[in-house]
Symmetry: C2
Subunit: 235 residues, 2 copies
DNA sequence: ACCTGAACACCGTTCAAGT
DNA sequence: ACCTGAACACCGTTCAAGT
């Protein structure tokens, strides 16, 4: 019974001690090289030349790992704002950037949807969004809710795109043919509209449209609140 | 070597032959009893008293299984509409129902987010939504996009709720404490707003607010288009 | 032709035992 | 005290072989 020779211990000069930062670096390397869906506790441990159990000393579970990873990615986001750019345009840009960031790696957006990113870079993003919405004359409560809605949309869009564009996803034609199966008697409105309307425009254009809808809708909500501004006696 | 006696063959009278419908029934039973996250090919096969390989004769993969299952659940949705109910109110009700349906079982919403439901009941839902939006004077293109946006919001909300409320999710307090960690120098807007604004109001109220934002935003978009109505020469 | 046992290639998490 | 080998309890999917 020949045991495989233990992988040479001298290759890396004294395998560095584990640490949150080191684990995160290795995680990024895996995501970059193999995609976020290949980031597993076992692979991560293997990359760090240890057993999976060791990771649990530094990271509570997979959910926490994902939350940390997302924040780590957020550092790449451009969050500067000089007033030469109109707030609405800046809003579009940062949300596009955010969506792109999450789309780059399959699985990252998925994680972001069900995970509150945990870290300072996420707070940076929230701060900028709030600032921009304030600049559009939204009150604090409305702005906070709008931030929620805008980020939810950006994240969900990224998750959808990543899911549909990769591996064993459904084909776009599946949706088409489902829609074409609309029975004019049972689905008159749908049949009259035609399946084409659901895929009209480019992804970028649709996305920009959605962001404007969200902003305008929030603005309307803030306006309705305006009359009661001085002191809110009703409601 | 004592083989375990084969589980009695006479318990169920002549194990019924497999079929798409039978598989789906068994899937619903599992989801109902153990939650959608426990629905796996292997468990499903076990429930049908066969090996997992057999399922692949009727279902392409897990993604297709989920798509079929979601449509199967959609049958419970109330899609009637008599004009005694204002279109906006009806819109709220059907979207609430849809969110509830997906929230009931962890994992169902997750699947819906990355999977186009496949079947006639989904078309029924689309038809009603389109009809209601037309009634609010939206043109077909705007209505179709609004449908997308409304369903995306409903699905994402359900996924978030299901994820955060169950099993090994992050605590709500995690978000609170992340927000409270806002450094007044680095995150002035956030710190001034306070962490409370991000969790103001009940879930139902926040949800209703979001739906109104989406509807109003879409209405604005449709209005802007109105001037060019007769024939669209520009753009 | 239709079905499936068994195998392949993985997972996350825990805990007793080692240093 | 800190770390981890090995085990526990699972996954989805394929394919050669059986009826």
């Amino acid at each position: 019974m020949v045991r495989p020779e233990p992988v040479s211990r001298r290759d890396r000069p004294a395998k560095p001690p584990l640490s949150r930062a080191g684990i995160l670096d290795a995680a990024v390397a895996i995501v970059e090289k193999e995609g976020a869906d290949k980031l597993t506790m076992r692979r991560l441990a293997a990359a760090l030349d240890t057993g999976p159990a060791s990771l649990y000393v530094y990271v509570k579970n997979t959910t926490e790992l994902n939350a940390l990873l997302i924040d780590r990615y957020l550092v790449d986001l451009d969050l500067s704002w000089d007033d030469s750019e109109l707030p609405r345009a800046r809003l579009h840009r940062v949300l596009d950037d955010y969506t792109h960031l999450l789309t780059r790696q399959t699985g990252l957006a998925q994680a972001a949807l069900v995970t509150w990113p945990n870290g300072v870079h996420y707070l940076d993003l929230l701060d900028l969004l709030l600032r921009l919405l304030h600049d559009l004359e939204l009150d604090t409560t409305t702005a906070a809710r709008a931030v929620d809605l805008l980020l939810q949309h950006a994240t969900a869009s990224a998750a959808e795109r990543a899911a549909h564009s990769s591996n064993d996803a459904q084909e776009l034609s599946d949706l088409q043919s489902t829609l074409d199966a609309a029975d004019p008697d049972r689905h008159p409105t749908l049949a009259r509209a035609g399946s084409a309307v659901f895929v009209s425009g480019s992804r970028e254009e649709r996305n920009a449209w959605s962001i404007d809808v969200l902003i305008d809708g929030a603005l309307k909500q803030a306006t309705q609140r305006r009359p009661t501004e001085g002191r809110s006696h009703s409601e």
